[in-house]
Amino acid sequence: MKKAIGYFIVVVLVAAAYFLGKEPVVEAYREFPLIGARNVVWILAQLMLLFAAFILAVPVFAVIIEAIGYFKRDERYDRLARDFASLLPLAYLVTALLGALFSVMSFSLYPKFMGYMAGIFRPTIYIFFGLVFLETVTLYIWYYTWDLLKKRNHLLLGIVLNVLGTLVMFVGNAWTSFKTSPAGVEVSGNLLSLSSAIFNYTFWPLNLHRFVANVSFGGFICAAYAAYRFLSARTPEEKAHYDWMGYNGTLIGVVTTILLPFIGYWFGIEMYKFNEQMGITFMGGALSKIWLLQALVIAVIFIGTCYYFWLRMDRLPGAERYRKYIPYLSWALIIAFAVWSAPRAWVSSLEEMGRGLHPIYGKLGIMAPKIAAVNIAVLCVILTFILNRRAERQVPPGRKIYTYLQWSVILLVVLLNVAALYYSYIVPSATRIRISIATFLFMVPAIGMIYLMDGLLLRGSERVGEMQWGNVPPRSQYGLIAVAVSNVWAMALLGYGRAAARLNWHVYGVMEDTSRHAGLPAMGEATLIISFLTLVFIGLVSLIFYMTGVTGREVTGGER
């Protein structure tokens, strides 16, 4: 089996080398039967990206968990980390295969464009492969020296592995972001400066956004896997272990997801700086339906996660005190997402974009109130966390002051955002944008304050009831699986959005797409493709879990 795969890779790589090394081709495009050239490349690229995210996320995750286990001297963490690491060799292989397939396909279907890209970025391609090689070697050493090396050294090696993985991603991001916001080239496309081409407008936002998204992706996948194991667990120990794992995965997933809107808006701002009209088209014009769908998906992720935490509170001794808040939180979340998803301009094309506002929703769809809505939604998630944490504890007497402070910060956030929400409907857009950036930035210290107060409040406090792992209703686990699927879907959706922002350009403003696939499909068609590749991805990942044997392992009992 392994050999067969090895041979297959060699064949693919030779084929790739053949295509890459061919004389410059005259024709710009070739067609692919049935589903068309664009869809093939789209599906392969997105699958490859999802796997790349997976193999980046798992080591980040594994090293963090391993470190926690080391510092807490808790064997469970170490085992969990190792379970995850064992997925990597096969996952690397699949990623490499998809990468090779993607390169072969895009070089043969879009020869002129890919030839141009390869010409601009040639030196970085060598760096890329060098880094991939180093990363792979490091992975194997890291994986097979788990028990051999001293824990401290092993952790260090894990960090090296992560740095290498991140660098690989950065190189890929240089290519991707260049297509969106090219720099360092003449209008005709000739390269002036490679470093400007690499460090273009959206390079750093993309790096950061992808990195953080990958970690939350890892968290949710981990949680979904745990949910799956929880549902099929037979013994209470197993149930307890996977419940615990699902909880921690979700926590990491959500905390990092909360950061994403902030980085996403930075991305948007850089895009506006690069080209105003692109930003407008992207955020409010022809592509605004993407944001509608995104709001729906993120709503499922946020509400699904909160649902999970609320169900936990049902079983938590001591949580009765706080249960009364849950209905308010859920309504606040629902309203926030309703505001968020109101479309700005529901036009079918630029041609209809006479006024730039939606015929029914009108100004309701503008961006600033959406930011206020996101802020409120984020606040609800944070409060859910806080309640969950507090439920376990007995607040020591004489610390009421911290609760009051906490409440005032929360109240301030709500007031500020409601005010911003109201004003953004009546002031001109320039003021509106300034208001919304301010409220957005205010969230960071506010969340910090809320947590600081919480820390002070609960310092040295006693536990009311121990969290009883394994004692959650199965419903909650389906919530986790739905959240993970939604997360994959969201990544594929936004991958599409990023590429669609270029409209009919391979490289925005530099190289036009003159193929018959230059336009954009209707949202319905796009969502079908996105759903399809999400299912393929989940299928492949499940297969990796299965083939690695992780799914078959017992939890109890020492050496496995």
Partner: protein, 139 residues
């Protein structure tokens, strides 16, 4: 074990199905890549203006400008033909203004002929189209 695998598949199908359903339930609108207009020297200013109106739409000028007397992100153009002469219009279109990219650069990426037609259209707003191909000098 089997049972929960099946349940996982069902959840995945429901979730991805929900999104695909929603994506198909909203109004559908594929976006077509703009096509080049054929503009010839024989065209009268009026014919040019008609082409220019189509070019105005496909180039996304309406994202920022209104032609019916409203203020969007930039000034209203409903009387621009009366307010500006050919040179002014050409100057704005070829060099851009503030956040407006030059019309001969991406994303509009118009040819000189298309820009002439666009100017004819702008002249028709609050005035009469007068330009012919060759009247507008690219800087």
């Amino acid at each position: 074990m089997k049972g929960s695998g099946l349940r996982l598949i069902i959840v995945a199908l429901i979730v991805t199905g929900l999104y695909a359903w929603f994506g198909n339930a909203i109004p559908q609108s594929p976006w077509e890549a703009p096509k080049r207009k054929v503009i010839t020297a024989e065209m009268t200013p009026r014919e040019l203006a008609r082409e220019g109106a189509a070019i105005y739409k496909k180039s996304g000028c309406g994202v920022c400008h209104s032609v019916v007397g409203e203020r969007l992100r930039a000034s209203d153009l409903s009387r621009i033909g009366a307010e500006r002469n050919v040179e002014d219009l050409a100057a704005v279109l070829y060099s851009g203004a503030d956040i407006m990219a030059p019309a001969n650069k991406p994303p509009a990426n118009l040819t000189d002929e298309e820009i002439t037609a666009l100017i004819a259209y702008l002249q028709s707003l609050g005035g009469r189209p007068k330009v012919r191909l060759g009247d507008v000098k690219a800087p």
